[in-house]
């Protein structure tokens, strides 16, 4: 007979055994992929917001007319084919047969027209340009739609298939009819996965379930093009805000794939026998030292050149990504390295030894009289904090009276939009970074726009830069495009539209039982499998 102590002992052992049991009962099978995204998926309207995490989730739910491959060439996706008039003013597209939305309704040309309309209203770069040139956008029949433009637009396919945000996704007409400045309330697409709204806990998890009605293209998948074959019944996005916790969860097998491991934790992950680590996005990112062109001292190009020639990209990149030199390189230009239009023409001010004495002289010549220079630093974002600290040091070295304002990103987002003088709540400098995918050419590259009052924050104005951007738009072939970009790079460098602080990449990490993970500017879930 068992006594009280014996019973308690047995119960304790049983409880300990159950608690310490292998994770088999909790671990999801090979039909579920558990993924830690770069950020919280707080909403799912890829037109209303331009957050990359929203675009990435949307790639599962909604399909695209065109999708870029790894060479950044737009390939037909929902489209069967197109016809362009010789003058590039009329573009006619025909949808693939058999496309269906998740609610079972067929995808029709009028859905594409409504989706394009909403996208054009929010895409200030390519969509906005098309809208300005648009005479008519009409559904010809259920599967055919047509653009009629007042001016040629040879970059149409790139615009319809661009991966930078806002990306053009095709939604049912009733959803696409939503005001582009208001969120949609239904997440019905025709992509390979459907969104499980009933299981969505913003800030914690988002669940995608395979859509059996999806008909992938016959070609092999290549980034956003080709057959998007999903090998999982469910993809679970788990939001893990703390890097150390995400690292431990990956090592412990509680998640399968982590999109953006912190560089500091990568050596630890590499030591884990079950974890693979590699570069995530070959197009990387470009660090940005953004200057307000409206107010002294930086309304004078000599003051802008002073900081430009003092910038040591090695210092910035060391602060942003650490000692791992495989992750960064210097960038004497504005365009993404290793892409067809990359050039260093005109990039001399960012090359060679830094000349602080010349910088001081230029600053004095510009009429700088030790007035405070307001530096906005978002200290809650590691990349902006690191860049801000290097800039503060640099400015002090060349004799600038720096007013370092430590803020959070939300506040910087508000402050940078203020056109008031720096002494009245405005600013002189802030830092950010641009995804390399957005800097492959001038179309998605809003940070290079020099249209003055309507330009991006800092409001640079240069007719020469605008002229070179226009030359690229009108370039009939790649050689002409390259020439236009060379001249644009030099003009933008001379005007110091902004100062690139270097080119850097990030890592991704996954369990070794996962295969098919590719390097891309977005997580590519198709053709990923789990043993």
């Amino acid at each position: 007979m068992i006594d009280r102590r014996g019973l308690l002992k047995t119960a304790a052992v049983a409880a300990t055994g159950a608690l310490a049991a292998p994770r088999l009962s909790l671990a999801a099978g090979s039909k579920t992929l558990r993924f830690i995204p770069q950020a919280n998926l707080a909403n799912l309207d890829p037109i209303w917001t331009t957050q990359y995490v929203v675009r990435n989730g949307s790639l599962l739910i909604w399909d695209m007319l065109y999708g870029v491959n790894e060479k950044l060439e737009p390939q037909p996706q929902m489209v069967e084919g197109h016809e362009a008039s010789g003058d590039f003013k009329t573009w006619t597209f025909r949808l693939r047969p058999g496309l269906k939305f998740h609610d079972g309704e067929p995808v029709l040309a009028r859905d594409a027209v409504a989706s394009i309309d909403r996208w054009m209203a929010r895409d200030a770069t390519m969509g906005g340009v098309i809208k300005k040139r648009l005479d008519a956008l009409e559904a010809v029949d259920d599967r055919t739609f047509r653009f009629r433009l007042s001016q040629p637009y040879p970059k149409m396919l790139f615009a319809l298939g661009k991966s930078s945000t806002p990306t053009l996704f095709i939604m049912p007409e009733r959803i696409a009819a939503t005001d582009p400045f208001k969120q949609i309330s239904e997440y019905v697409g025709s992509g390979p996965m459907r969104f499980k709204r009933d299981e969505w806990v913003p800030g914690a998890k988002a669940i995608f379930e395979r859509f059996d009605g999806y008909v992938p293209r016959g070609e092999k998948a290549d980034w956003l093009s080709g057959g998007k074959r999903i090998h999982f019944e469910r993809i679970e996005w788990q939001i893990v805000p703390d890097g150390a916790t995400a690292s431990a969860a990956l090592q412990n097998g509680e998640v399968d794939w982590w999109e953006t491991p912190l560089p500091d934790l990568v050596p630890l992950l590499r030591q884990s026998p079950n974890v693979a680590v590699d570069i995530s996005d070959p197009l990387g990112n470009i660090g940005s030292f953004r200057i307000n062109h409206l107010y002294p001292p930086f309304n004078d190009v000599r003051a802008r050149r002073a900081v430009q020639i003092a910038v040591s990209q090695e210092d910035y990149m060391g602060a942003v990504v650490g000692d791992d030199q495989s992750l960064w390189r210097t960038l004497p230009g504005f365009f993404t390295p290793d892409t067809p239009l990359y050039t260093e023409f005109g990039g001399e001010p960012l090359k060679g030894k830094r000349d602080y004495e010349l910088a001081k002289k230029l600053l004095a010549d510009s009429g700088y009289k030790n007035e405070p220079v307001v530096l906005l630093v978002a200290t809650d974002v590691a990349i902006t904090k690191a860049q801000g600290d290097v800039t503060a040091d640099l400015l002090k070295r060349i004799g600038v009276n720096v007013q370092y304002q430590a803020l959070d990103w939300g506040t910087v987002g508000q402050r940078r939009a203020k056109k008031d003088p720096p002494s009245e709540g405005g600013w002189n400098i802030f830092h950010t970074w641009h995804a390399g995918a957005d800097c492959v050419n001038p179309a998605p590259y809003i940070a290079l726009d020099c249209s003055g009052p309507t330009a991006w924050f800092g409001w640079p104005k240069s007719d020469l830069v605008q002229e070179k951007i226009a030359a690229w738009y009108d370039a009939p072939d790649l050689a002409a495009e390259k020439q236009a970009i060379k001249e644009l790079n030099k003009a933008a460098m001379d005007h110091v539209v902004y100062v690139p602080t270097g080119f850097f990449k990030g890592y991704q990490a996954w369990r070794k039982n996962i295969s098919g993970v590719v390097k891309a500017p977005f997580p590519v879930f198709w053709d990923v499998t789990k043993a």
Partner: protein, 313 residues
């Protein structure tokens, strides 16, 4: 007594509303712009302005305040700017993990800390007393996130006994529920445990020197009865007070613990909302926390009467 309870509950309403007004005003004057966050880094200033207008954030303070207040009176906490979901729905999604974490933390803390404090007082000046106080000092001085990382490293990564992160609802079974919550509860509970153990020890030392304890000893009352029936009951009022006060610290600690262990609770919801300036969510959660805190204090007041019948309201 019932009239007293009703009065106290009624008195929470103006307190909660004052807190709400304070938070609303604070958020209004605080810098930061949800429209800029929504619009993203590539947006033009005109885009940001249009989003701000569509969210109604360009309206004057009083208009926004009375609009919000009118909805509160109807039990509507509003809709999240970012998720487009009702705030009540978001709170409902997050309440179970936080309540579970705090309940388990309270159970662990009270069941360990009170006996520790009693024993330390009883064995005053011995190595047991010093050991208990050392644990208490350690608990006090080590930040929650450090304890969390150490526990996760040892019990999840090294020993592979427990998961690193996440939450499983109790409806999916007690064992998975506990597996996920043990480490966070210990991490969160250590500070609380240290606080209660120290107060219990100090109060018990005072009580144990009282005449009636000597009398009880002289009458031959057993050690356990003397400590836990006679002494502890008389030491209970300050302990209960500190348990109530410590509850606020527990709420603050839950924010950190939920982040470290990726628990989808109200703490993380609050942090996410603050970072994004999701005003309706911040206001809703602060209202809830202030209401709960007021209720906890009411509970503490009522417990006084239980432990000390001389106290009457």
């Amino acid at each position: 007594m019932f009239a007293y309870i009703a009065r106290r509950i009624a008195s929470t309403i103006p307190v909660v509303l004052l807190v709400a007004l304070f938070v609303f005003s604070l958020l209004y004057i605080a810098p930061g712009d949800p429209a800029a966050i929504i619009a993203g880094d590539q947006a033009t200033p005109a885009d940001v302005d249009r989003i701000r207008a569509s969210l109604g954030l360009d309206r004057p303070f009083l208009v926004r305040f009375f609009d919000w207040f009118w909805h509160i009176l109807q039990g509507d906490l509003g809709t999240s700017i970012f998720t487009n979901l009702p705030v009540t729905h978001m709170i409902a999604q997050r309440i179970e993990p936080t309540v579970s974490l705090m309940t388990l933390t309270l159970i662990l803390s009270l069941t360990l800390a009170i006996p520790m404090g009693v024993i330390a007082a009883w064995k005053h000046g011995t190595w047991i007393d010093r050991a208990v106080m050392m644990v208490a000092v350690l608990g006090f001085s080590t930040p929650v996130f450090v304890i969390g990382y150490v526990l996760a490293y040892v019990f999840a990564l090294r020993l592979d006994w427990l998961p690193v992160q996440g939450f499983t609802s109790i409806s999916e079974g007690l064992i998975p529920f506990l597996r996920n919550l043990i480490l966070p509860s210990v991490a969160l509970g250590l500070v609380y445990m240290a606080l209660i153990a120290r107060i219990t020890r100090a109060t018990m030392l005072d009580v144990l020197s009282q005449d009636y304890i000597r009398t009880a000893k002289a009458k031959g009352v057993g050690q356990r009865g003397m400590l836990f029936v006679h002494a502890l009951k008389n030491a209970a009022v300050p302990i209960v007070t500190i348990v109530g006060i410590g509850f606020a610290a527990l709420i603050g600690g839950a924010v950190v613990t939920e982040s470290v262990f990726a628990i989808p609770g109200l703490g993380r919801l609050t942090v996410d909302a603050i970072l994004r300036r999701d005003y309706p969510v911040i206001q809703g959660v602060v209202l809830l926390f202030s209401f709960v805190y007021v209720l906890v204090n009411l509970g503490v007041d009522l417990l006084y009467t239980l432990f000390d019948p001389r106290i009457r309201y």
